[in-house]
């Protein structure tokens, strides 16, 4: 391609020659580094392993940078450098020595490409290099990457490391990695059987993958051992899957609950068919986006608190929008459900298009704060933090709302107006004011739901549309006007959906749920928990 490319190729040839010599020289590493940018992925994979084999302690950092995609070739002198973005340019350091080399614009640098294959090679090479690291977490990571690759060549290294290991957790991981390697080698039958049992005792999907992979090529004597191991793991996994489904169901249920709980007030208690409910949820999500945008540009340190700041703001913004909608449109249409439906449907289109004009039609990026990213293991279940927080949040919102309805004067007036408007009015309650507040409360809660949903869904003008049907479904199923019904309804639908999904597929599961609700409503038109009130009388 370019004349400069020829030079590293020569160096590669030289490097391979040198690598073949016993007691290779120190330049060896540099030559290999210069060979990294060129050649096919399989050539370069070999270079990575050669680099790891040199045992040079500068190599781990270099490979790390390669894996992260931070390694560049300086186009002027063909030097391999680590580039970190700083402003518009890249701050450069020498790939091996770490010497600072000033900055360069991206046009002067050519990135050293890595694909998954090279990243795997880097991972396993780093695993080998850091197995003796003084820090236990680094060793643990190294051992687990050896486990994933299970390369027989690293057995010797692993044995040495195992002998010196003191940390029990790391030791266990190393033993598992060793077992995974042993079943691939031509070790004795007994040793292999022990390795199989060790893997079977681990009892997770990774172990299952290794045993299933080893089954076809195993010696006939070992096959029953492996099969027993697989059966054992599968039994454990079946139980775990059931638990997992319950968790997924609860998590889906909590999302449904969040989406529906505002509607439980506006539709449930007030009897307003609010088709713009989804768009109010969307406004809440966009409030989160706006808050994060301000934080990103002005106060980057506060990012982890962005949701805490967005919550009250979203409540305020959407409650005000809700009150405006009630005062401006809905109050003129009480008692005329069809007109309310059409007016709010139109309103939902207006809100969508307004947001589209202001923020653009594309998805907006709402980041997850660090405490909402990733997953943790609980008794073998992998539970993602964002889902857990959403379950917690949904229940908290539910509890607060319940308290507001049952323990505050506003709640008392709301219930009074819902149950008998004329009587409440005669008792001196300003029913129009209560109507506006109720609608504002329901909208505000929908806005808070939007903050939570922005963490798991697209923040786009269409966000609300996908929730509106589900929300009505939950409220109608649970019983119009009853908060507990909404809670039970949402969780029931979530769990039922998640148990159907593995068997019927996502599309059919949704259809089954709809059919079920239709049949259920035939039997109990008022839903799970019926309530007497204006909605019933109307």
């Amino acid at each position: 391609m370019y004349p400069t490319r020829l030079f590293p190729k020569l160096l590669l040839a030289l490097a391979l020659l040198l690598a073949a010599l016993p007691g290779a020289l120190a330049q060896d590493v540099e030559a290999l580094v210069n060979a990294l940018p060129d050649g096919s992925y399989s050539d370069r994979e070999k270079v990575i392993f050669d680099l790891a084999a040199t045992g040079d302690d500068r190599v781990a950092g270099l490979l790390n940078a390669l894996g992260e995609g931070d390694l560049y070739v300086h186009e002027e002198d063909g030097r391999v450098v680590v580039g970190k973005r700083s402003g518009r340019d890249y701050a450069l350091t020498d790939a091996l020595t770490g010497e600072e080399l000033g900055t360069a614009p991206s046009s002067a640098l050519e990135k050293i490409r890595v694909n998954n294959r090279l990243r795997r090679a880097v991972r396993s090479a780093i695993g080998q290099l850091t197995l003796m690291s003084p820090s236990p977490p680094v060793r643990l990571r190294a051992a687990s990457s050896l486990l994933r690759n299970a390369d027989p060549d690293s057995l010797e290294l692993l044995d040495t490391a195992l002998a010196a290991e003191t940390d029990p957790q790391v030791k266990k991981m190393m033993e598992t990695a060793r077992a995974a390697i042993i079943i691939k080698t031509d070790a004795g039958l007994e040793e292999k059987a022990a390795a199989i049992n060790l893997l079977a005792a681990r009892g997770d999907r990774e172990a299952l993958a290794m045993l299933t992979g080893a089954l076809p090529s195993a010696a006939p004597e070992l096959q029953p051992v492996i099969e027993r191991g697989i059966a054992g793991i599968e039994r454990k996994l079946a139980l775990r899957d059931a638990l997992q489904n319950v968790w997924y169901g609860l998590s889906l249920g909590s999302v449904l609950l969040l989406a529906a709980i505002g509607l439980a007030i506006t539709f449930g208690a007030m009897g307003v068919i609010n088709m713009a409910h989804g768009e109010i949820v969307m406004l809440g999500a966009y409030t989160t986006f706006a808050v994060q945008q301000v934080i990103r540009t002005s106060f980057p340190g506060l990012f982890d608190y962005s949701l805490a700041i967005a919550l009250p703001l979203a409540f305020l913004v959407t409650a005000l929008v809700g009150i405006a909608i009630e005062r401006g449109i809905i109050r003129w249409l009480y008692g005329r459900p069809l007109e309310t439906l059409l007016a709010t449907w139109g309103l939902s289109l207006i809100l969508q298009q307004t947001v589209r004009t202001i923020f653009g039609p594309n998805n907006r990026e709402v980041g997850n704060p660090s405490w909402m990213s990733g997953a943790f293991d609980l008794a073998g279940l992998s539970i993602t933090w964002n889902r857990l927080w959403i379950v917690v949040f949904a229940l908290a919102v539910f509890a607060v709302l319940l308290a507001v309805l049952n323990r505050t004067p506003l709640g008392l007036q709301m219930r009074a107006v819902t149950q008998n408007r004329r009587m409440a009015s005669s008792m001196g309650i300003r029913t129009p004011w209560v109507d506006a507040m109720t609608f504002g409360l329901g909208s505000g809660i929908a806005g808070m739901a939007g903050v939570a949903l922005s963490q798991i869904d697209n923040v786009s003008p269409n966000l609300g549309q996908s929730y509106i049907i589900d929300s009505f479904m939950v409220v109608v199923f649970g019983g119009v006007g009853n908060l507990w019904g909404t809670l039970v309804g949402a969780l029931t639908l979530g769990v039922a959906n998640k148990f159907l999904e593995p068997y019927a597929g996502a599309v059919l599961a949704k259809i089954f749920i709809l059919v079920f609700i239709i049949l259920f409503i035939q039997r109990r038109p008022r839903g799970l928990f019926a309530l007497k009130g204006r909605a019933v009388d109307a």
């Binding site: 990135k111 990103r296 990026e365 869904d457 697209n458 786009s460």
Partner: protein, 431 residues
Amino acid sequence: MSTTFTRRAILAAALAGSVSLSAGISYAQEEAIKVGVLHSLSGTMAISETTLKDTMLFLIDEQNKKGGLLGKKLEAVVVDPASDWPLFAEKARELIAVDEVAAVFGCWTSVSRKSVLPVFEELNSILFYPVQYEGEESQRNVFYTGAAPNQQAIPAVDYLMNEEGVERWVLAGTDYVYPRTTNKILEQYLMDKGVAAEDIMINYTPFSHSDWQTIVSDIKAFGSAGKKTAVVSTINGDANVPFYKELANQGIAAEDIPVVAFSVGEEELAGIDTEPLVGHLAAWNYFQSVETPENEEFIAKWREFIGDENRVTNDPMEAHVVGFNLWVQAVEKAGTTDTDAVLDAIIGLETPNLTGGTAKMLPNHHITKPVLIGEIQDDGQFEVVWETEEVVPGDAWSDFLPESKMIEADWTAPINCGNYNTETKSCGGAS
């Protein structure tokens, strides 16, 4: 790459809105050649199609700067079919019959294309369709400037098979015509390659599916059978963001189970933090990151036009660039915008694409394209890890499906047929 929300962005949005409004009013100018733009500016598909509308305005603006076409100015007529499939047909009729446009550039989903086909046939006009699609179609009045399955799906599967050594396949898609047909072709192709039926898992989800927990954990389980597993994703539109978020949260790294997507481009990634997704793949015929002088010039001019220096470009945009240039050439060659003359003139014309190759209009109304496989980077861009050495000619009827392998499309004399059966030597498809 995060698109920063600035005052300029609002201004640009407002500006774009007003441009489309004023362009929507058709001036009674005798001297202008009208070009129809049929992309949804509201509703579900606005997320993808709005950019294409802007691309067309940009291309027409550029052409006018060069002196227009046949000595006349070009004028865009923009309509909004609002992601409503029957409305596409109505709006297409309006563009052709009322506004008398010379050609229409538009549609995104296959269902919208299918809905306008009869209109273009009846009123004999021209449609340029810029999106990758499922194939099994070639219509006299339509030019398919996006990829056919052999220009996207098949090479991607080959790459995974050869470079990554994948033996077990998850075909996950949104439940509509494009994923279903593509997966049918892929399933047959994999079976022909000797992949066993139990090593293929097919899964469909509704549009805008947002709860991916079960499916992602199913994929994880499917991937733990001791064989290298990959996901081929024809998941479309909105559903992708929660899908990728769930993948990242459940810790599925690209090194273990790579996902290759056919509908995820730079625009879609703009809404996600791509740090945990590095290494997942996409197959397209164009990436913004491709370093060619043509592409750099295009990106610079596009950003200047749109007034946003972070705006991304994507594959369907390039398809519009190629389609528009081919149409301009054909009109110049024919000396008229008359449909039949342009249909004749355009076959065999060539224009440089943005990735350093040449796009040629083939007799089956598809074009030649390079196939690029890119890996997602942490800045929301793709890096090409593999590409075909030559451009690949688009094949309208898949050679891997038994019911369509004997069918060819050829819109030149003497065949002049979109579904010519090479066995019975007659026009009219399989039966």
